[in-house]
């Protein structure tokens, strides 16, 4: 079983320090990078599937600035086998459409049964890149996965896709692209042994030229979208604090909701 897991280093959302740089692009040096939250869930799902199968290889694929291997090591420490790091100065400022093209080109060079991606990222929150990658590769796309059940002998996979009323059970022939959610289950913490082992694992670096892509038509130079301006959201008013009996609190809430015409 060969699984490629897409890993996006994102500014740590817990830092609350994410910001745009002077060029209105995300300032990736402003705060330390971490593995995108939803990517950890799909990596955990991949690790469990390989463990259950008793065989397999998990390759991490990341398009990110030059310092990304620091973040990739953490994902390798969870148990992935190797990493591929696509990096090129021309990729700074890539739009989502361009990112999908680059990752699809990198996937063309790899062999896999399944590609796993977090359903969205905490910095962009667009949730469109996995679907675009699948379309570029001409592969089935199974999204919002809460459970992933491959049948390697039958060369198919079934996925529970979260729906507004429950879930849809999807099936497609391998290879596929799967977008996964937190419902797949809690990611493990890397063990000390895993952290030690990760130091020796291979991370291959690939540039745009290595992938046969021309920086004139892709990356920052060819972004399809651009930030035109920014503003701070309207500040919230001061917090009104109510102390007293439970009924005092309830009475004030009712009054507040009536003032705001919510009830």
């Amino acid at each position: 079983m060969r699984i490629v897991v897409l890993i996006k280093p994102v500014p740590d959302p817990a830092s609350a320090g994410e910001r745009l740089g002077p060029d209105d692009r995300l300032d990736r040096a402003a705060v330390p990078a971490v593995v995108n939250g939803n990517d950890e869930y799909v990596l955990e799902a991949a690790l469990k599937l390989v463990e259950a199968a008793g065989e397999g290889e998990i390759t991490l694929l990341s398009m990110a600035p030059a310092n990304a291997p620091e973040t990739l090591r953490k994902a390798l420490a969870m148990g992935a086998h190797r990493g591929v790091h696509v990096t090129d100065p021309a990729l700074a400022g890539s739009c989502a459409a361009s990112t999908a093209r680059v990752l699809a080109a990198a996937l063309h060079e790899l062999e896999y049964d399944m590609v796993f991606a977090g359903i969205d990222s905490s910095d962009g929150v667009g949730g469109i890149v996995p679907a675009a990658i699948a379309a570029h590769l001409g592969l089935p796309y199974l999204s919002y996965a809460a459970r992933i059940e491959p049948d390697m002998a039958g060369r198919t996979v079934r996925v529970r896709r979260i729906s507004p009323t429950g879930y849809d059970l999807l099936e497609a022939p391998l290879p596929v692209v799967i977008g996964g959610t937190q419902a797949l289950g809690e990611p493990r913490y890397p063990s000390l042994k895993g952290i030690m082992a990760a130091r020796g694992k291979e991370i291959v670096t690939r540039s745009l030229a290595d992938l046969g892509l021309d920086s004139a038509g892709i990356g920052g130079n060819a972004a399809t979208t651009a930030v035109l301006g920014t503003q701070l959201p309207a500040a919230r008013g001061a917090t009104e604090i109510v102390r007293g009996s439970p009924d005092d609190g309830a009475a004030r809430i009712v009054e507040f909701l009536a003032e705001r015409r919510i009830i």
């Binding site: 089935p140 979208t225 919230r236 009475a251």
Partner: protein, 325 residues
């Protein structure tokens, strides 16, 4: 001059998803502001019910009937048809909801056409170089306005950015012939499973009553649910409550859950950690009940009641019921 398209997503019972009625209202107003025609697109096994709904919002609705839209994942089937339409006609922008189906469609159509995507629009205005799309980023700490460098593209629209309102007149519905070859591989829908207790999507709720670690257990969500029912809202939760198995992941709000913007967010036993805050801080009114007066949510709630959530919740329920009774 190109038109503005709204791609309708499937809703319950073959009708229209609520997000699509909101997107249609938003884009109709943008059509007036930009002097552009607005066209709805419905791809479904039987497009008639959704098309009739959409025609009450828009002057023209194009339909494509394709049985695969039900037996296979809708987004892959619809993306093929929308991309084929885009090859023959050149709208200035294509709008779709920012929910699961809309995101899947937007990503696939982007790859098939090369068009860029602006995501999670909270407002859209028109400039001489195309749409200017406002979105809330960094967990609600910044608003950006973005455009397409080529003037055209795809926009995903967040729920609750406008109130759906039908147009005064009913539009016309035109059937288009489906292209027989869709470019994307099929993903078969083997079964659609309803789970007990499944609630309306929380992103669409006008009122959310949410519980956190302080709720203490699955039984504790009883008061949360009762208050939500009384206020006509939905139940939300923090990751801690979901990870503890007290409530389904579909109700989780925050960094790896949903981002919501209801008119009222009533937070019970929620400390307001950053991972949760990023999912709800742009809510209209935030009311919190927490025993810990130093909880971070005290810094961004509009009203903060220091007290036991069960005691305050019970008193609140009684007062709300007395009021409506």
């Amino acid at each position: 001059m190109g038109a503005l398209w709204v791609v309708a997503e499937p809703g319950p019972d073959g009708g229209l998803a609520r997000i699509s009625t909101e997107a249609a209202t938003l884009v109709r107003e943008l059509g007036v502001a930009s002097g552009r025609e607005v066209v709805g697109i419905v791809v479904a096994a039987d497009p008639a019910p959704a098309a009739a709904d959409l025609a009450s919002y828009l002057p023209l609705v194009l339909t494509i009937a394709d049985p695969a839209a039900t037996s296979q994942t809708w987004s892959a089937v619809a993306a093929g048809h929308v991309a084929a339409l885009l090859a023959s006609e050149a709208p200035d922008a294509v709008f779709v909801g920012a929910g699961a189906d809309g995101r899947d469609l937007a990503g696939a159509v982007s790859a098939l056409t090369g068009l860029g995507v602006l995501v999670n629009a909270t407002a859209v205005t028109w400039t001489e170089s195309g749409p200017a799309v406002e979105m809330s980023v960094f967990g609600g700490r910044l608003l950006t306005t973005s455009g397409f460098t080529g003037g055209r593209g795809i926009v995903t629209v967040r729920p609750n950015v406008t109130t759906a309102s039908p147009a005064g007149t009913v539009g016309r519905v035109e059937a288009r012939t489906a292209d027989t070859t869709t470019p994307l591989p099929a993903v078969r829908v083997v079964d659609r499973v309803s789970e007990a207790g499944a609630a309306a999507p929380i992103e669409e709720a006008r009122v959310i009553v949410a519980g956190g670690r302080g709720v203490g257990g699955a039984e504790g969500f009883g008061i949360v649910q009762q208050l939500a029912d009384t206020l006509g809202g939905a139940v939300g939760a923090t990751r801690a409550a979901v990870d503890s198995g007290w409530i389904a992941y579909s109700q989780q709000i925050g960094q790896t859950g949903k981002i919501v913007k209801p008119e009222l967010y009533l937070a019970l036993g929620i400390s307001g950690a950053i991972q949760h805050k990023v999912g709800m801080r742009t809510s209209g009114a935030i009311v919190a009940v927490n025993r810990d007066a130093d909880a971070p949510i005290a810094e961004f709630a509009d009203l903060f009641v220091v007290g036991d959530l069960f005691e305050v919740g019970a008193a609140l329920l009684e007062r709300l019921r007395a009021r409506s009774g």
